[in-house]
């Protein structure tokens, strides 16, 4: 069910994108396009706004944020801490809390979920900056989910985020945040796929990093992942580099959290993906690039609980930012065409060109 405060991924439409932030919008879009995405819902910016309007939180933030000196980090830090404490200890408006609890209960009893912030990204153009906001894995139970949603909201007021907005003159109170609550994947393997070669910008390549367990260790660089290179158009694997993967992040049902676990020696150097799985990941990334009309950076996972052929899930897809923002260098001269070009080809053979 959906209210103004929550919106299931499969009901997020184009018109809702501003209310659910970049990450949830992308999950919604993928779900609509038929991409396999773990189910879940967005806690919309309406919920955040309702919280701000509840018991004077908005005024309190404005008070803390007034007269800050962008260069005085100590002062910013104190203000940021105060707001974070205020948000974390704030009792949510009853309607918001009920909406979250209802939506969560609809996913199943005590379903383990990941709770992630989903920023309205126009205000935070640097994609990696969004990573400053929080992700909580293996959250279970309505109380915990509500608490983590609040924590995500609070993460909008980290010292760095506040300093960034001060410097860029972005009104603090205009930045709204959505939060995604998504079914936890029981990842056998997971990682990242880029629809270009991050080393060269080569768009004929899909480059996949993959390791055992949840993908967070790959993203954070705490494990050396397997690396696969796929030719995007011919759809063929060009290269496989199998790494020594010493540790994995896996859900522990008993503890109710994701834990790091050492990997026993025989699994460490086994490929974390079969060739068929590599191709499946590559084709998923290619599909997402096509849908989004620009190179993508895709987080994916292979779910151990799902049957082969249905076990590949997309967790996130966002535009690649580094190479895509580079200006293409125009050729120095116009392209040779017709007979002149053929003469040029014959007199200046390919193998001697630099």
């Amino acid at each position: 069910m959906s209210t103004d405060f929550t919106l299931p991924f499969d009901q997020i439409s184009q018109a809702d994108f501003a209310r659910v932030g970049g990450k949830c919008a992308s999950l919604g879009e993928m779900t609509q396009a038929g991409v396999a995405v773990p189910p879940g819902f967005a806690v919309t910016t309406d919920a955040f706004a309702a919280m701000l309007d509840h018991h004077g939180v908005r005024a309190e933030i404005e008070r803390h944020m007034t007269g800050l000196d962008p260069d005085n980090l100590d002062q910013i830090d104190r203000a940021a801490q105060a707001i974070q404490i205020r948000i974390r200890s704030h009792h949510l408006p009853a309607t918001v809390e009920a909406a979250i609890r209802t939506a969560y209960a609809g996913m199943g009893d005590d379903m383990p979920v990941a709770v992630r912030s989903s920023a309205t990204a126009e205000d935070l153009p640097d994609a990696s900056f969004a990573g400053q906001q929080d992700t909580y894995l293996w959250v279970q139970g309505g109380d915990d989910v509500v608490e983590k949603v609040r924590d995500c909201w609070a993460s909008l007021f980290t010292t760095r985020a506040v300093a960034y907005r001060e410097k860029n003159k972005i009104p603090h109170i205009d930045v709204l945040m959505s939060v995604g609550v998504q079914k936890m994947v029981n990842a056998r393997a997971a990682g990242v796929a880029m629809t270009l070669d991050p080393g060269t910008g080569d768009r004929t390549r899909i480059v996949i990093d993959s390791s055992w367990g949840l993908g967070e260790l790959v993203v954070s660089g705490l494990v050396t992942p397997d690396n696969f290179v796929v030719e995007k158009v011919l759809e063929e694997i060009l290269d496989r580099t199998i790494a020594d993967k010493h540790v994995e992040l896996v859900g522990d049902a008993a503890l109710g959290e994701a834990v790091e676990r050492d990997i026993c020696s025989d699994r460490r150097t086994q490929p974390s993906l079969s060739d068929d799985e590599v191709m499946a990941v590559a084709m998923l990334a290619k599909q997402l690039e096509k849908q989004n009309k620009c190179p993508q950076d895709v987080e994916w996972a292979i779910d151990a609980d799902l049957p082969p052929g249905e076990n590949l899930l997309a967790l996130q897809s966002r535009p690649e930012t580094i190479w895509s923002q580079k200006k293409k260098t125009k050729p120095k001269t116009a392209y040779a065409t017709g007979m002149m070009s053929i003469v040029g080809t014959l007199t200046n053979p390919i193998s001697t060109r630099k």
Binding site: T200, D202, R203, T204, R205, E231, K232, V233, L234, E236, I237, L238, D239, D275, K328, P331, Y335, T337, G338, M339, M340, S341, I342, V343, G344, T345, L346, T347, P349, I350, S351, T352, R353
Partner: protein, 603 residues
Amino acid sequence: MDAKTPMFPSAFDVKTPQGAEGWEDLYPYYTRFQASRREEEDGKFWFCNSQHWPNPFRPFDTIMVDYATKCLGQYNTRHLLVPPANGVDYRILNGYVYFSPIGVAPEDIEARVPQFMERAGHYFGNWDDLLVNWKSKVLAAIADLDTISFKELPEVEDLEVVIGGLGQDSTTQLFEQYDKAINLCYRLWQYHFEFLNLGYAAYLDFFGFMKEQIPSIPDQAIAKMVQGVDSELFRPDDELKKLAKLAVDLDLVDAVMTGSVDDALAAVSAAPNGAQWIAAWEAAKDPWFNFTSGNGFYSTDKYWIDHLDIPMSYLRDYIGRVQSGDDIMRPTAKLIAERDRITSEYREMMDEEAQEVFDGKLGLSRTVFPYVEDHNFYIEHWALGVFWRKMRELSELLSKQGFWADSDDMFFLSRGEVREAIWDYSQAWAIGTDIHGSQVWPDEIARRRKIHSALAKERPQPALNTPPEVITEPFTIMLWGITSEAVERWVGADEDGDGLKGMAASPGIAEGVARVLSSPDQLSELQKGDILVTPVTAPSWAPVFGKISAAVTDIGGMMSHAAIVCREYGLPAVTGTGNAASKIKTGMRLRVDGNTGTVTVLD
């Protein structure tokens, strides 16, 4: 590497194989490396063209290398004035042919440009009309070849010859027919090269543009965008598939499976619906069974139409596959869709201005490329098939006159010597005495056979002397896949352990058991799932491509027949490995990676 040590031996230091002493006089004087010009000969880089001539020549068979190289040269050098490239020179060493491209002196290149622009421009501008004209010329020449016949000289000339005041005897027709056959062969070789290098030039232009736009694009991807799906080279195989389906549809399977070809055709004829199938078989035969299991360059080539057991065995394989529910027809609609997909996906990676240029160059490549593929059927398969058949008829005729014992012994004579034998036959007939040949040729042919088989026991040196720093000659790269990297592979081929490098000619990866074939006669040994390893393949091997899981060849570039056929059949292929066929043994387990061009021995 020491600059003074050549990478490959000098022709003058290559030893004659044991038992092949005197091989030189099997071949024309102009094909020899000249000792008196040693410095010049050693100064050039020669590569063995084992792609087109994988086995040593029998003396008559040098006709094909003579005509092929001469006719390739004439268009570059005299008709079109390709600015940087003249012809390709050739020599025969130990029975194998070595090629060396002749460049144009740098100072002369520019002056040729306007002429080339005008002449080649005319061809590119009028391609389709000229091609229609080409086909009718070729078909006329083939029809002419077909009329050739060699008649035994009569005991007595017909009375009409006397009464009609003809003043000519029957020997005249022997000479005329022989000369006509040779001249038509020569003419067909001229036609063969009329468009070919222009086709390659347009392709290379597109290729170079793609490599500039998308440096990492695989060569095979560029080939896939240009390659047609309805090449006439695939027709013979398609015809067999259609016949197989028809046999199943008409309930004639048992009849087609009966005994020899003759038995089967008799059984089909006797069966209800049989006439319909026989009509289809006859229609397919001419021209599509004018298809060699080799490449048309040897008198030993077996043409389907002369050896109906070859297409029949493929046909029976196809029937078996139809019965087990396989869809054997080539998925042409899918292939076209795939080609369009690949084309549009790479196109989208370019900016708008480049896309426009891309469209133009791809358009030209696609216009010219069907010729590059189709000429092979018309000339090598069809026309040369007729030529060889006529020559075999002559050999048989002369064999009957006592010149030699085996019906194909004539091919141990040069084409000039054959004309002398016809003279011998004619003069003895006219004078009323015995031919001399019967006293000369049997021993001489036995000697030549011995030399030829001694030559065949040794694989050729891949190249001679030192290659240029970079290999730039465009046609060499295109036709033979001879690039600087390929030469490095040949040099290093024996050094690495259990892997071989070649050209990534057709994508995909396969693992399986190797089956090493040295001749098309062994094709029947192939088992389902085998990895075919062979010096070189021919388009007519297509029917076995449904059985194998990958192909590895010693020789061949991106546009070699093996590469084209493998891409068509969606099989991984690594070509131009240099020595896979001698290094790999039947039974070895292999992994063939057609994406990276590597072959790994797994155990």
